[in-house]
């Protein structure tokens, strides 16, 4: 869902989420996670609105939104591919997987495909070290990858 030029709906959505958490300041991370789930990212307008409804400074919301790697502050692909770059997956051949994904999607790590479908990112250990290389696509985990298998999996999302 696009965030721009639909401020009224966005405001209503934010209000709904904030109300669900009874406007509790300590629920900020949960609130941002839910809004991030709906729109894929958090823009300045969202941060201002969340700050207003919780009666805190926008900078505080911004500080939280930028701290966590699973919260986005720029638009991302519908599917975020997170390939583990940490040591056990590295030993198991993450580089080949990275190369295969790059070639297949025609983008570099840190980029999003022009159709807005995929973002390609590295992430740190995702707890699949005994079955590396491993990656997450949104909330799904894939492991024991080889280049062909990784590409096949990504294709399923196309």
């Amino acid at each position: 869902m696009k965030l721009e030029s639909m401020n009224k709906q966005v405001t209503e959505e934010i209000q709904k989420v904030v109300e669900k958490y009874a406007g509790r300041r300590e629920k900020l991370l949960q609130i941002l996670e839910e809004i991030n789930d709906v729109y894929g990212y958090l823009n300045e307008y969202v941060m201002k609105e969340v700050a207003k409804s919780l009666c805190i400074a926008t900078s505080e919301v911004y500080g939280v939104a930028t701290f966590y790697s699973f919260l986005n502050t720029t638009p991302k692909g519908k599917y975020i591919i997170r390939l583990c770059q940490t040591i056990s997956c590295d030993l198991a051949g993450k580089k080949q997987i990275a190369n295969a994904l790059r070639n297949e999607l025609g983008i570099e790590f840190g980029q999003t495909t022009s159709d807005g479908k995929f973002s390609l990112e590295f992430t740190n250990c995702i707890g699949m070290c005994n079955q590396g290389p491993a990656m997450l696509i949104n909330d799904e985990v894939y492991y024991n990858l080889d280049p062909e298998k990784a590409v096949e999996i990504v294709k399923k999302y196309q």
């Binding site: 701290f67 699973f70 919260l71 770059q85 707890g127 699949m128 070290c129 005994n130």
Partner: protein
Amino acid sequence: MLGKKKQILFSPLEQGKALKKAVSFVPKEIIEQIKNSKLRGCGGAGFPTGLKWELAYNAPGKQKYIICNADEGEPGTFKDRLLITDHAKKILEGMCLSGYAVGATEGIIYLRAEYRYLRPNLIKAIDEMTADSLLGKNILGKNFSFNVNIHLGAGAYVCGEETALLESLEGKRGEARNKPPFPTEKGYLKCPTVVNNVETLCYVPYIVINGPDWFKEFGTIESKGSKLFSISGDVKKPGVYELEMGTSVKEVLDLVQAENTKAVQVGGASGVCIAEKDFDKPLAFESLPPGGSIIVFNKSRDMLHILKNFMEFFVEESCGQCTPCRDGTFRLLEGVKLMEQGRCSIHYLKVLRDLAQTMQIASKCGLGQLAPNSFLSIVDNFKGEILARDRAPESVHA
């Protein structure tokens, strides 16, 4: 195979038996049992669990919290994932017992975002235990209630550090707090709070049922019972193993069928990297602190490449709050890159070693204090391999 073998967590547990037994004791007696068992935390630091509970029990406060640390982010660690997947009710019963002992009615599981796909499994376990009167209001018909909620992390390794975790739970940036005050005194929302690792909590029902002496039959003088190890890297049989405390590295390598082993990383990126001369050392707090992770490297691996991977990890995951860690991790990585290019002088290596030692002392939290471990141990144990490499040709763009 191993001579010594004790399986606790991987042995069956009758659900609810420990709770039924516990409610016939007063909370103080449960704390005594855990203290007597000498159970130590499995999240890395090895703090005595019974003592932690006692501190929270004694801390004044109407509302107290039990937090299960399921942020498992240490490279090479996946034992908690396995427990959440296959033994979720043991975790919940452990939390509930902790709540009964400490006088807390609220429990929170801090689940890392990378494990979001495990949340339905936890919710199902919570619902079933609530239906069985092992969670929720008036547990087992007694005047004791305990609720468990799940709080999802959002991708930050440092949030596994208990005070950063508390900040994150309060909806803030995951920046570690100064200690004291310790969480047992002022934790979540300034209330007395117990933060325990997933695995630690799973041992609790077994100890309550079988008694502290049973638990103490296994392990070493300082490290009782057993421990889960997540084993990965150059081995034929990677996976999660439950081993008695005090098992030697050599025994582990045989068990997982590692061949041509050059080095073993014990305790993840925050742990130490040991060479063959130390393979007969036992995995126990008094020798090689066991952590949760063992990563095996065979003779074909480049130790500098491994060290670089660890240092990149810390540069990315440092919360940036304090200078020794924020700048120190960056400088160490830079140094590793210099070594890679054959451009690090022996003198500069000494400067880096000094910096590493300063980080151990001056960093605010465990991340910065432990980040130099892999640097120092790899540099010291594999000097011949990483020092004075051939110079890489000067890059045109450099």
